[in-house]
Amino acid sequence: MIAYIIRRLIATIPVMLLVAVIVFLLVHLAPGDPASVIAGDNATSDQIAAIRATLGLDRPLWEQFAIWIWRVLQGDLGQSLFWNRGVAELILQRAEPTISLAITTLIFAVTIAIGLGVLAAWKAGSGIDRSVMGLAVAGFSLPVFVVGYLLVYLFAIELRWLPVQGYRPIAEGFWPWLERLILPSIALGLAYLALIARITRTTMLEILAEDYIRTAQAKGVATRPMLFKHALKNAAVPIVTVVGIGVALLISGVVITETVFNIPGVGRLVVDAITRRDYPIIQGVMLVFSAIYVLVNLAVDLSYTLFDPRVRY
């Protein structure tokens, strides 16, 4: 098993390397001189020359890449042009809100989606099924920021149940932390929820038609254990796969959600970098988020052994 994990980790290296190449080339092959792009519109030619020298832009492309990737491997994602600080350090500072938001969203979306998907499959063809599937289509169609503002308007401005925006570190107390994450999690999680609910329903429909479900019923197993113990465990592999793929939705959504709810996380860091043309930050966050996506999906692959005894590595 451990040997397998190591082999799989090694296998992600080419993909990560290609990601790095793409991220690197994006700056260096984009129209215009990266140094002047980075320096901004009002920079003098001296400033541009200085930037060119610090970034090593006068060297051949492959050499620049080699230097850059070597630094990245040592955890050096470059310097922010605006903050005058290391990109890695900035990302770490902003990590807590983003990780908090990701975890609450994951818990909210996955539990509700699986519950709804199982219910819809069990009541296939009924009004409940149709409503759940309708909700799923709506979930795909409603933009994160529209849902976000709608929730803020209803629950924060009109009803005053929850704070409008912002973030409190968990160190300042669980409820102040959680109450500011409820609305962002719902807004961010809706599309993810729809995706998982759909795959849960489809997979469960297939599994409920299997012989072993009939065997369980012939044994006198009640409906709930039949659904959640006998059927859902068999449905786990496709569901977990989609949970992993859907992390891409979450990562894109985080950037928008943090803007809507004014959460000082990694997503906001990127958005603020757009207008400041703080290119190293965008590059660094791209690399980190891509690595997270690749690792999450590796973890998903490895988790198959937990759910299906027939999978052995």
């Binding site: 072993y212 065997t215 012939a218 044994k219 006198g220």
Partner: protein, 327 residues
């Protein structure tokens, strides 16, 4: 209840399937009875309604597609047809258990076999997880799975087909059921294993004192195991008799056709297998006469117009055929 009262009495059972293309009369007025501890065989070609009959007794058919539209299933004096789901669950796996045809797909691949056997014990006898697992080991020993203490934690894919069917038997008998429904229990197995499984099942049935309904398309299996036989065709019972009487003098042309299709290696190697010509009728259209008439060599106009009732043709040998007397 006196000792000879039947443990199960199926009266005029009708189970229909409702699909977009119409109503399929899968079971169309089936009656038979079973004494405690008796082994009853139900034979017929695939699609004749024998499996649906068994599933109807346990009410395990898909509720949206099918319904028991008439008849009674009287088990230990109570009619099961009107019972609600919780009451049925009390019976399933406890007093009536079932073994299915496909051991490869009938066990849950992600649960250990120990858990799958123990579950029924926990549900019906309120046993603790520990006691239920102990019972599972005991049952595995009973069905002669070697090294039961260790194998109780294994998953179905770690067993062969024959071994899985032993597990299914262990699971079915774990709560000492009064009635065991065995739906083609050996059909999917290797010929060499079939006999072992059949013998094991009947031996354990004697030990526990269950009655058995053995469903099969194989008259040879019936001949070795059952006391009485019900022959089904197109959702109806066409003949019912003691095994010896049926084999000595089959009365219904369909039964005779079935018997002719058993290969008899002892007698004549060269004799070709006789097949019944024609196909099973479409059950979506009501059949006014005898359902077998289109394939029957003896059919008359009367057979095509009126369905023959199942009548005693002498000494408990029933047949539903206008021409039962003619050989």
């Amino acid at each position: 209840m006196d000792a000879t009262a039947p443990i199960l009495e199926v009266q005029d059972l009708r189970t229909h399937f409702f699909t977009q293309d119409g109503v399929t009369r899968a079971v169309d007025g089936v009656s038979f009875a079973l004494e405690p501890g008796e082994t009853l065989g139900i034979v017929g070609e695939s699609g004749c309604g024998k499996s649906v009959t068994a599933l109807s007794i346990l009410r395990l058919l898909p509720p949206k597609l099918s319904r028991i539209v008439g008849g009674k299933v009287i088990f230990e004096g109570t009619d099961l047809v009107p019972l609600d789901e919780p009451a049925m669950r009390e019976i399933r796996g406890n007093r009536i258990a079932m073994i299915f045809q496909e051991p490869m797909t009938s066990l849950n691949p992600v649960l250990t076999i120990g858990e799958q056997i123990a579950e029924a014990v926990r549900i019906h006898q309120g046993a603790s997880q520990k006691d239920a697992l102990a019972r599972a080991v005991e049952m595995l020993k009973l069905v002669r799975i070697p090294d039961a203490e260790r194998r109780v934690g294994d998953y179905p894919h770690q067993f062969s087909g024959g071994m899985r069917q032993r597990v299914m038997i262990a699971m079915a008998l774990s709560c000492n059921p009064k009635l065991l429904l065995a739906d083609e229990p050996t059909t999917a197995l290797d010929v060499t294993v079939q006999k072992q499984i059949l013998r094991l099942m009947l031996e354990l049935k004697e030990r526990i004192g269950s009655a058995v309904i053995l469903i099969t398309h194989d008259l040879g299996v019936i001949a070795e195991t059952a006391k009485r036989v019900v022959v089904m065709y197109a959702g109806r019972v066409v003949e019912q008799a003691e095994v010896t009487a049926l084999f000595d003098a089959p009365l219904h042309p369909y039964t005779r056709g079935l018997m002719a299709s058993i290969p008899r290696l002892k007698h004549n190697r060269a004799r070709r297998l006789a097949e019944i010509p024609g196909i099973v009728p479409d059950l979506r259209t009501p059949i006014p006469g005898c359902a077998f008439a289109p394939r029957c060599p003896l059919a008359t106009d009367r057979c095509r117009e009126a369905a023959p009732p199942l009548e005693d043709q002498g000494s408990g040998h029933f047949a539903a055929c206008w021409e039962a007397g003619r050989a």
